[in-house]
């Protein structure tokens, strides 16, 4: 049963990852990170429900709830930043922001 959950979680994560590295829109990319988040939360909950030692606890679900809260806060912040970036360059293409590269 655990394997099925983990498979779905991994699938969500990989979908998010692929989306993150391929899309050219900051908002879509942000949504992809959310997708990865959910894959991980699913893993946590699954491990909580089907632990390896056979004694289920609520730990995984508790972590999941915290993560959702953090993700929500982060989403608010990130969307605000994206709006700011959009104001600077009038585009949401991440490739116009290459300040990490040393020229």
């Amino acid at each position: 049963m655990l394997a099925a959950y983990l498979l779905i979680g991994a699938g969500l994560f990989v979908l998010g990852l692929i989306g993150f590295v391929t899309r050219r829109n900051l908002i879509i990319m942000f949504l992809c990170t959310e997708l990865m988040f959910q894959g991980i939360v699913l893993n946590l909950v699954a491990f909580g429900r089907y632990p390896l030692d056979g004694h289920p606890t609520l730990d995984g679900q508790a972590f999941g709830l915290f993560l959702l809260a953090v993700a929500a806060a982060e989403a608010a912040l990130a969307l605000a930043l994206i709006v700011l970036l959009y104001r600077y360059r009038d585009t949401l293409d991440p490739n116009v922001w290459k300040l990490l590269k040393d020229e």
């Binding site: 990852l17 993150f20 590295v21 391929t22 990319m29 991440p94 490739n95 922001w97 290459k98 300040l99 990490l100 590269k101 040393d102």
Partner: protein, 713 residues
């Protein structure tokens, strides 16, 4: 101390101060310069101190003979050393460790007469034994009759030259030249250095004197430094001398290398006494090595073939310098050194042969070059080379006493000639080219008279100083090999010829003056002519110290015989004379060489008696004359063969430095630089690439971890 007082007129310690007086004078003048005192007075400290040295030397000449006479029988100890200078508190602290009780004990084998005086310990050889008093290079003086002869004429000629310079280094109005005080300071330094060279009791101190006289020569040749030729000549003199010194230094190293294993504790393998004592125990090859290396130094300092090229150029210096350093004293240092090391050289016939061959080449070559020059001082310079070559031949033929005899007579007449030439130059407004003036005999009578004596002495005119000493050398060379003897005689004839060519061109013929001489050239002041007369007396009579008045069939003109007081005096020194060298020849040779000298003078009279404006020899001899005039192109050859390739090598090295080695360093640094440049491409600034990289990296890490788990367990 009591015993010493009974054998010498003055305590040896007092003689040991002899070199330092002129140094003191030089320091005083140096202080005068620093305090910007008037140049006018700069001469007196030097004249006074050199006079003190000369006086001391005169007394010393007597004492040196007495020391050697006394010591050659008995044992010798450097008693004066025990209370000598240089006792620092540090040394006392260390003295307790070993046997060093303050003084050095220098063993004096019986066959090395003379006294060693230790002034102070100079350079440590760092040996453990040195801490106990053994291995030191000390400042030691060695006194024997050879020292006596050398120091006698060195200080005397120095005094004359210094006095002469008081007048020479001024312009026509009697105002001191620029650098007047500097000149005297250098002269004082020179006399100090030369006296140290002569007094030195070990090879390292000899080397010190050797280099210091070279330095003075450098400073004084370059006295007129704004003149490029003077600066170049000074540099050339120093560097050519350094080539010789390179060999000389290696010779000293070799002496230590070979002699050290033979010595006992407490003996210093660099002291003359020790070296001469053990020299016979060395292998022939070792002696030859030492001899050849020491000879290198002598060739440089005494301007012998093939290292003579600096001496003619050295005439850029003021004339008193040419007289003192480049004729009478410094250049004879090589001869002195070989005579001093006679025990070494006499032990190796191979080295003696080399000396003779080089001497003969030098004598003939320099004499021929002297025949085709117009610069009066250069003629004299080539003559000096030629005469020094005579001395070398004497040394090589096993007659070092004759060599020293010639050194001594040569000092008088050559100094006289240079001072005379200086007097001419002084009045001709620093023009010295024989083509530009003639008939000066009427204007400069005193100069003319004294120069005549000097020229006759140099030409080997019978009964004058040069005749006796040169004749001895010719005798010895005939004994060595007839061919050498013939070449020596031929050179003697050439000497007479070129000397009088110069004399006639200068003083005879119609009076012609260069523009530089001014309106009314006149005889030099008395401060210059008096030294000329004193030296002229020396040039005429100095030879009689080496001659015995005795009648009989073997006497020259029926009443004079070669060998006299000087030779007996020198027998008490380290000189080793091959008695065979003096045995040969015969009276006919003396008459022959007298005849050749007169013949040479007569030939010069015939061709140059009227001081013709065009040199007759240049027409008669043609091509040969122009080769002589161009000095056999030796300077050009050296420039092409040595100077330029070496400088090219320098350029090559510098190019290697910038491109080769630094290039290699660049290649080494290129590895991290290239790696960095490659990795930099990955960092393109796009966050999606970074994310991908992160994902791949994490995946890879997990996979590696899994793989290691599997492999490990």
């Amino acid at each position: 101390m009591l015993a010493q007082a009974s054998t010498t007129l003055l305590p040896l310690k007092l003689y040991a101060t002899l070199p330092f007086w002129p140094l003191l004078g030089a320091i005083v003048v140096g202080l005068m310069i620093a305090l910007r005192a008037r140049a006018e007075r700069a001469w007196w400290p030097i004249v006074a101190t050199v006079a003190v040295s000369a006086l001391l030397a005169m007394v010393f000449v007597f004492d040196a003979g007495r020391i050697t006479a006394h010591e050659s029988g008995g044992e010798a100890h450097a008693t004066a050393a025990q209370h000598a200078v240089g006792e620092t508190s540090r040394e006392v602290a260390h003295a307790g460790e070993g046997s060093a009780t303050g003084g050095e004990w220098t063993p004096e084998p019986a066959r090395v007469p003379g006294k060693t005086i230790t002034l102070f310990r100079w350079i440590s050889l760092g040996e453990r034994t040195s801490l106990q008093g053994g291995q030191w290079i000390a400042a030691t003086f060695y006194f024997d009759s050879l020292t006596g002869v050398m120091i006698g004429f060195v200080t005397f000629v120095s005094l004359m030259v210094v006095i002469y310079s008081i007048g020479y280094m001024r312009d026509h109005h009697g105002h001191p030249e620029r650098g007047y005080e500097r000149f005297f300071a250098f002269l004082g330094l020179f006399v100090f250095s030369m006296a140290t060279l002569v007094f030195a009791g070990n090879f390292v101190l000899l080397y010190l004197g050797w280099e210091l006289v070279g330095l003075c020569s450098y400073l004084l040749i370059g006295f007129y430094y704004p003149k490029p030729s003077a600066a170049a000549a000074a540099k050339k003199a120093f560097i050519v001398n350094r080539i010789g010194d390179f060999g000389f230094a290696l010779g000293i190293f070799s002496i230590y290398l070979f002699v050290k294993p033979l010595t006992h504790a407490g003996e210093n393998p660099l002291d003359y006494a020790v070296v001469f004592h053990y020299i016979h125990q060395l292998a022939p090859g070792q002696i030859t090595t030492i001899g050849l290396l020491l000879l290198c130094g002598a060739l440089g300092k005494s301007a012998q073939f093939p290292l003579y090229v600096w001496l003619p150029d050295a005439m850029e210096g003021p004339s008193p310098v040419s007289a003192l350093i480049h004729a009478a004293t410094m250049v004879t240092a090589g001869v002195y050194m070989i005579a001093r090391c006679s025990p070494i050289f006499a032990a190796s016939q191979a080295v003696l042969n080399v000396i003779v061959v080089l001497g003969v080449i030098g004598a003939v070559m320099a004499a021929t070059m002297a025949m085709a020059q117009f610069d009066m001082k250069r003629i004299l310079a080539y003559s000096t080379i030629s005469q020094l070559a005579y001395m070398f031949v004497a040394l090589g033929c096993g007659a070092p006493d004759s060599g020293i005899f010639h050194v001594y007579t040569h000092a008088f007449f050559k100094a006289l000639l240079f001072l005379g030439a200086g007097s001419v130059m002084h009045q001709m407004g620093h023009v010295i080219d024989l083509r530009k003036f003639s008939g000066l005999g009427r204007i400069l009578p005193h100069t003319r008279n004294t120069m005549l004596v000097g020229c006759l002495a140099l030409a080997g005119f019978p009964l004058l100083a040069g005749f006796w000493s040169k004749d001895e050398i010719v005798h010895a060379s005939f004994q060595y090999h007839p061919a050498v003897g013939v070449l020596m005689l031929a050179t003697a004839a050439m000497t007479a010829y070129y000397t009088f060519r110069m004399y006639f061109l200068c003083f005879h013929g119609p009076t012609r003056l260069p523009d530089e001489a001014g309106e009314h050239p006149h005889e030099s002041p008395r401060v210059m002519t008096i030294p000329l007369y004193v030296l002229a007396v020396g040039a005429a009579l100095a030879g009689y110290l080496g001659v015995t008045v005795a009648g009989g069939a073997h006497s020259f003109l029926g009443f004079l015989r070669p060998h006299g007081l000087l030779h007996h005096y020198l027998h008490g020194s380290t000189i080793i004379v091959d008695e065979n060298a003096h045995a040969g020849g015969g009276l006919w040779l003396m008459y022959l060489s007298a005849l050749l000298a007169i013949g040479g003078i007569a030939a010069a009279w015939l061709r140059y008696g009227t001081a013709p404006r065009v040199d007759p020899d240049s027409i008669t001899l043609g091509r040969l004359w122009s080769i002589w005039n161009a000095k056999y192109y030796v300077d050009e050859f050296y420039d092409r063969a040595f100077v330029r390739p070496l400088r090219g090598l320098g350029r090559l090295c510098f190019a290697i430095d910038r491109n080769g080695i630094d290039g290699l360093i660049w290649v080494v640094t290129a590895v991290p630089r290239g790696l960095g440049a490659g990795l930099r491409l990955i960092q393109n600034g796009a966050m999606q690439t970074y994310a991908l990289g992160m994902a791949i990296g994490v995946t890879a890490l997990v996979l590696i971890w899994r793989w290691m788990e599997a492999a490990g367990g």
